[in-house]
Amino acid sequence: MKRAEKDVRCSRPHRVLPTMEMNLDTRKNAIIRLFNVTKRYGAKLALRNVSLEILPGEFVFISGPSGAGKSTLLKVLYLAEKVSDGQILIDGMNLARVSASSLPFLRRRFGMIFQDFKLIPTRTVFDNVALVLEVAGKKPSFIRRKVMHVLRITGMETKAHALPPTLSGGEQQRVAVARAVVGDPEIILADEPTGSLDQASARRVLEILLAYHKKGVTILVASHHLQQLQTMVRGRTVVLEKGELRMSALKCL
């Protein structure tokens, strides 16, 4: 098991790559690469020949209308769905060759924020966040310290023993964010992280993501409400339309 973990682990990027200064040489070091990725659900094409490269430490917005394939793109990245055609490389590792036994270790490199939060309703906020560290086999004392730390950052410290159904949408989203960052992931994938939130809550969630971005974490945010997000973060915007990549452009403040 340890061997499998070693196979999928890579060194964490510690420096922040200034998005404006990217050039073709640095693109060789892309942490995420998609080559002609196509995903079909029956006859429907969710993604069509998507090719994309994302550098370590980049902040990428995935934009597009509902049904454009944003969520599907994130799903194929952490292997919740398999691609129909094409290839995806994460840090040089071909996802098509990831065995079932290595998959959990690959997923531990990601922090996922799901559109529907995906919190376990029968477990407390603390236990939901701690799950990420428990599956990684961390010691209880470390888990306690780390979980309380991220709950403090996300402003959920006082709700540590509450059950998710008793929380507001904004609070649940912050718990989801806490769970995504608690394992110190290399890549954070956020599916509509501010979709159901009021402006203040959305700002708070974004600030947390920004703090991790500054630490060098690669972040992909899929959202169809980008104006507010883009006023806060300097990043690249990738536009999807009917499953096809329409535009990949740098956006700066």
Binding site: M1, Y78, A80, S101, P104, F105, L106, R107, R108, M112, F114, K118, L119, I120, T122, L131, V132, E134, V135, A136, P140, R179, G183
Partner: protein, 291 residues
């Protein structure tokens, strides 16, 4: 170990109804299995006291006199397998009878003469081999001065046959009820697994291995099996206390019945087996679901 167990107990509390039904069903299956074992153990013990083993009582003709004893014992000795011959004069037999039937002892005072015959208590080293006892007894029967030989012939053979059938039925029922306990656990695990499908999916998405997902289920199965075993044995123990005191009250003055609850070893074995069944049900169920 304590932390996962605590979590398992909390999860079982969250699915209280399903778990209680499972434990109750396992306990009933274990109860039936344990009941059979209890009956076997006690029947075996009682049988031992009834079973003459390598022993025969030889009743002698009225004309027999003690002077003929050396010749007769020598003849019986020659038949082989005889280890000990004890002469019981009729006076001694009457005294023993009076002692055993203490309540009706005054009846014997009305007798003009001792109606009992002289007897020989013959012991053989053929314990467990009923056929051999019967063979030696028949040879003794053929000797002069021998009126009859009692070695538990007809009724004992029938009783042994009955016990053999009873045991066979018991073993089959034990197996069936063990299978029931096993299937119930397997089905519950499936139900719990399906009710927790979304939770398990979330676990997978955050990087849980199959092992991480399985362990709580294994522990749940073991807790269910163990709890079912304890509950089944407690019910049996309560029933045993009630029934055994009733039997002692009603039959105690006529026969001596050495009734005992299951031995510590057997109790441990039943608990171990029920815990194992709980785990095994889980194991097979998850093997199918998570393949």
């Amino acid at each position: 170990m304590i932390r996962p167990l605590k979590k398992v107990l909390t999860d079982m509390g969250a699915h209280r109804f399903l778990n209680l039904i499972t434990i109750a069903t396992i306990s009933l299956s274990i109860l039936v299995v344990a009941l059979f074992l209890l009956v076997f153990e006690n029947a075996g013990r009682v049988m031992e006291t009834w079973d003459p083993g390598g022993r025969a009582m030889v009743y002698l003709v009225p004309e027999f006199s003690e002077a003929m004893l050396p010749d007769l014992t020598a003849e019986i000795d020659r038949l082989g397998d005889v280890t000990e011959i004890t002469f019981i004069p009729k006076s001694q037999a009457l005294a023993r009878l009076k002692k055993e039937m203490a309540l009706d002892a005054q009846f014997f005072d009305t007798l003009k003469e001792n109606p009992l015959p002289h007897a020989l208590d013959v012991r053989m080293n053929t314990r467990g081999d009923f056929e051999r006892v019967a063979e030696v007894a028949q040879k003794i029967q053929a000797l002069d001065m021998v009126e009859s030989v009692e070695y538990g012939q007809g009724w004992l053979a029938r009783f042994l046959e009955f016990l053999r059938l009873f045991r066979l039925t018991g073993y089959i029922l034990c197996l069936l009820f063990s299978l029931i306990a096993f299937f119930i656990t397997a089905i519950t695990v499936r139900l719990v697994f399906h009710t927790r499908q979304s939770e398990i999916e979330i676990m997978r998405l955050v990087g849980a291995t199959n092992g991480f997902i399985k362990i709580p289920f294994y522990l749940t199965g073991m807790v269910q099996g163990f709890a079912g075993g304890v509950l089944g044995l407690l019910i049996l123990f309560t029933a045993y206390l009630t029934v055994s005191s009733g039997i002692s009250r009603s039959l105690g003055s006529y026969v001596y019945l050495d009734l005992r609850f299951l031995s510590a070893g057997l109790t441990g074995l039943i608990l171990g087996a029920s815990t194992f069944l709980g785990w095994f049900g889980c194991y097979l169920s998850l093997k199918q679901i998570l393949k």
